[in-house]
């Protein structure tokens, strides 16, 4: 991947050629990844064994975000692009701004709390989705208004390019690069390979409907697409936690949740500083070392993902021990009071900072298991 595409902003237009499409899909890859550190932070700041409903709900969402990343990588490979994830520029600094949105809402690494849930609800909200740029209803200088609009634009671009170039020509990628159901996956939806326009559009549908739900309902489409259990979409699973009540089978976005109460205990979480940086921890201290090791472990995870997305799909299995390592390192940090006396006095704990630098990637590449 050439240098500029890693973090280059896609232009406000329907992708008009293959290079444009690569840019959009690489941006989508970064977008899907953007949500993972905040969700992991909320999940791992739960005191172990408490808030179990919330734990399994957030866990399910995080896994599906990982699925979405994989599906975007499959899309990018299918149209002849090369996914890039093992790069310091791929990991957003937090707090980040949610891209492709009208409002400038900061996405911070927050412990399990009302504020964290409200951010998540903002990320996943099913909203009025504007038409893609160029549509008569959209002015040229409007700018992006929602993630849904961004994905609609990709969809529109795929359809147009398949028409212009021919489907076979557009989907010229090597099928051996596709991550498939044979490779590890362990949650809602299914890893599907992308080889033509139909599978590409299906992948996009999974990504949007698992997040926001099928229009007018609170549920995702895992049942109709994959014959799996139907679950509330991400937005509504978060809403269940926020409102401490679950959605019943007949509930709609308009009724709100009217099902059984959900046991949520906001106090059973380790409060952290959302602006924490590794540099706040004294050099040489145990907490600083742990934060550094966490960033290196995260770099290793991204290296494994890149390997899986660029020629060796089976490498995805290596992500399981990598995630277990991350969980253990994260929990070690969260259990330590913040080393800074002022923050400690506020009851804050240390936390992983997701500052993954070139140095971490260099060390991770050395530590990579041999293929």
């Amino acid at each position: 991947m050439t240098e500029p595409t890693v973090r280059r902003e896609p232009p406000f237009r329907v992708p008009r050629d293959r290079a444009d499409l690569h840019l959009f899909l690489q941006a989508a890859l970064a977008l899907e990844h953007l949500t993972i550190p905040p969700y992991l932070t909320a999940m791992y700041t739960l005191r172990p064994g408490t808030n179990r409903h919330a734990f399994y709900a957030i866990r399910g969402v995080v896994l599906e975000e990982m699925l979405h990343m994989t599906l975007v990588a499959n899309l990018l490979n299918a149209v002849g692009g090369t996914p890039c994830v093992a790069d310091p520029r791929f990991v957003t600094g937090y707090p980040a701004l949610l891209p492709f949105s009208k409002e400038k809402v900061p996405i911070a690494l927050r412990h399990f709390s009302v504020e964290a849930l409200e951010t998540f609800l903002y990320i996943e909200r099913p909203d009025y989705v504007a038409e893609p740029p160029g549509h008569p209803s959209v002015a040229d200088d409007d700018g992006w208004t929602s993630i849904g609009q961004f994905y609609n634009t990709i969809r529109e671009g795929l359809v147009r390019l398949a028409d212009e170039l021919g489907e076979r020509e557009l989907f010229c990628g090597d099928p051996a690069l596709q991550v498939g159901p044979r490779d590890f996956y362990n949650s809602g939806g299914e890893v599907l390979t992308v080889t033509d326009l139909d599978s590409a559009l299906l992948a996009l549908r999974v990504i949007t409907e698992e997040g926001e739900g099928v229009s007018g309902t609170v549920f995702d489409s895992d049942d109709t697409l994959f014959g799996e259990a139907r679950e509330p979409a991400h937005y509504f699973r978060f809403d269940e936690i926020r409102r401490q009540r679950s959605y019943g089978p007949l509930d709609t976005p308009a009724t709100g949740p009217t099902g059984p109460a959900v046991d949520v205990r906001w106090g059973d979480a380790y409060p952290i500083d959302p602006a924490a940086k590794a540099a706040h921890y004294p050099p040489g201290s145990g907490v600083r070392l742990a934060a550094d090791r966490f960033n290196e472990a995260y770099a290793l995870l991204l290296c494994l993902l890149e390997r899986a997305f660029t020629g060796e799909p089976a490498a995805l299995q290596g992500a399981i021990p990598a995630m277990l390592e991350l969980r253990d390192l994260a929990e070690q940090l969260y259990r330590n009071p913040h080393p800074d006396p002022a923050r400690r006095a506020q009851g804050l704990y240390a936390s992983p900072t997701y500052e993954v630098t070139t140095r971490h990637f260099d060390r991770a590449r050395v530590a990579m298991p041999t293929p």
């Binding site: 179990r52 399910g60 159901p181 044979r182 490779d183 362990n186 949650s187 895992d222 259990a229 399981i320």
Partner: protein
Amino acid sequence: MSTAPRPATDRYDVIVAGAGLAGSLVAKQLGDQGWRVLVLEAGTRTLDTWPGTLDAMNTYYAALAKVPNAPYRPNAAAPSPDVIDVQGLPEGGFRSNGYFVQNGALPYSSDYLRATGGSALHWMGLVPRMQPEDFTVRSAYGYGRDWPIGYADLESHYRTAERMMGAAGDAAEQAEAAGTPYPTGYVYPMHPVPPTYLDRVLAARLDGKPVREAPGAEETVLRVVTTPAARNSTPNEQYDAGRGHRPDGAAGLPNYGERCVGNSSCVPICPVQAKYNPLKTQTTWSHRVTLVTHAVVSRVLANGNGHVYGVEYQQYDDPAAPVHTTRTAEADIVVLAAHSIENARLLLASGLANSSDQVGRNLMDHPTLLTWGLLDHPVGPFRGPGSTSGMENFRTGPARRDRAPFRIEIANWGWTWSAGSPGSDVARLLGMGGGSAQPRGKGLFGPRLREELGRHVGRQFTLQFAMEQDAESRNRVTLDPAHRDRLGNLRPVITYDLSDRVKRGIAAAKDVSDQIFGLIGAEDHTSYAPGPFSAGWFRFEGRDFVFQGAGHGAGTHVMGDDPATSVVDQWQRTWDHPTLYAVGCGSMPSMGTANPSLTMAAMTLRSCEQIHRDLTELHRPRTLRSAPALQVAVAIPQQEGQS
């Protein structure tokens, strides 16, 4: 379904006693075929919700002894045996507490679980098939009992069971190394669970190495092969003519447990439910299946002609309070699927199906010898399922004439089973090794404790040698009115021993183990001395051994082709009562060396076909013998008129 008028309630087509593996499959198959099925489960159904599973996991985490029943709460109304009920004595011999009454020379130290899901909640999940010659041990090798059916009769049912339980394995490798034939091109629903690092270390040092079980015995070349398991692994796209397989995840939590993530606590509980358990089958039961829990079947009901028409059961509310209401339920067919020992107990308590005097006899298990040691470098125990690979060399062959054959499992859970690791290692290093009565020695603490533990625990491995036990009529379950449980039901009285041929198998296994330890350069820590944790201690030909129960109880309502010498026919239908079936491992005349659940499932699925035929026959519209009957009916008044 029949169009005949039917009472609306308390009358079913089939009653199934037990919601474990066999009972869940019976209810699944017959419910899907349209029959109304009542499943009566003696225990609770806590585990079929996710919070229930989490509760069981917490109970397990807090348990001092991590035994198979540790996660599952005790139930006074439907007590279960526990492996820690049996305690060894200082000079040998044993004491038995708990649910079983034992009076044999050696202890039957296996357990089972009376709860929805049954013992398959805590099984290891290994599903090797039995070998074809396992079905003819009497005619081929001169011991035990032959089956009335063979491998070929079960083959298609093995495949159905492998689909329903979601088996992962390598058919080609099994066919080659274990001699189990598969149809051409057959693949398991999922690829084998990847071998662990320990498996690979052992394979590197053992594959191709010849060993002899005794000087002068025939040479066999070792090979480490993967073991089929009902555990979610990578689906095989070639399965089912290219349709592939979708793993069944956890019961009670959507989209969870679709892959094994390598927790090594398959026994006693898979924390993600990647391992098959019957709760997964229950979630797919037809609406025609009714599950009633807290319902202890106390008696099978038969009329004066021996026609079985239903069951009597005791319904209780609180598992801690021994009070109940007695109810009855009726059905055309009654299927006992309550574990081999419970099935035998029910038949004996009901005074049924025993014209052969074989009910309760032929009790078998897979007596297991453990050997354990340390390897020369860390091999990552406690990662991966309990066992992923084994050696199939000693499962059959001419030596089988003289000694029990055995299967070798490579255990990934360190010395958990053999020596209570890692808890016992922590205690020892803390200086608590010498028993509670002795003063505590000087222990290690802090980083030194951690380092030492890592150095020691990380090198642990265990080999598990599972013996085939031959059917002996002296090994049996009986009842004694003096021994009852809290609801007044008679408790199993167990008389158990090992035959000399099993003991010779154990001795041969130890000799093989010694050679394996030599080949892999392991430091042997195996020791067999009498003591509280060695209830299975015995001395044989001047050598000490300790065997363990495998939890594979079988044989107690043995299948055969002669009503005079067996309890059930080839369909697991009792010879004495055509509407009474007893399904499960209790029907097995011989067990071979394969973990028995898969074969039990295959037998059960085969029986379901016969139960369906029986029910169809019972519901077939009857044609009255109209012509002759009419003539008589018409003739009689005429005669009367004439007189």
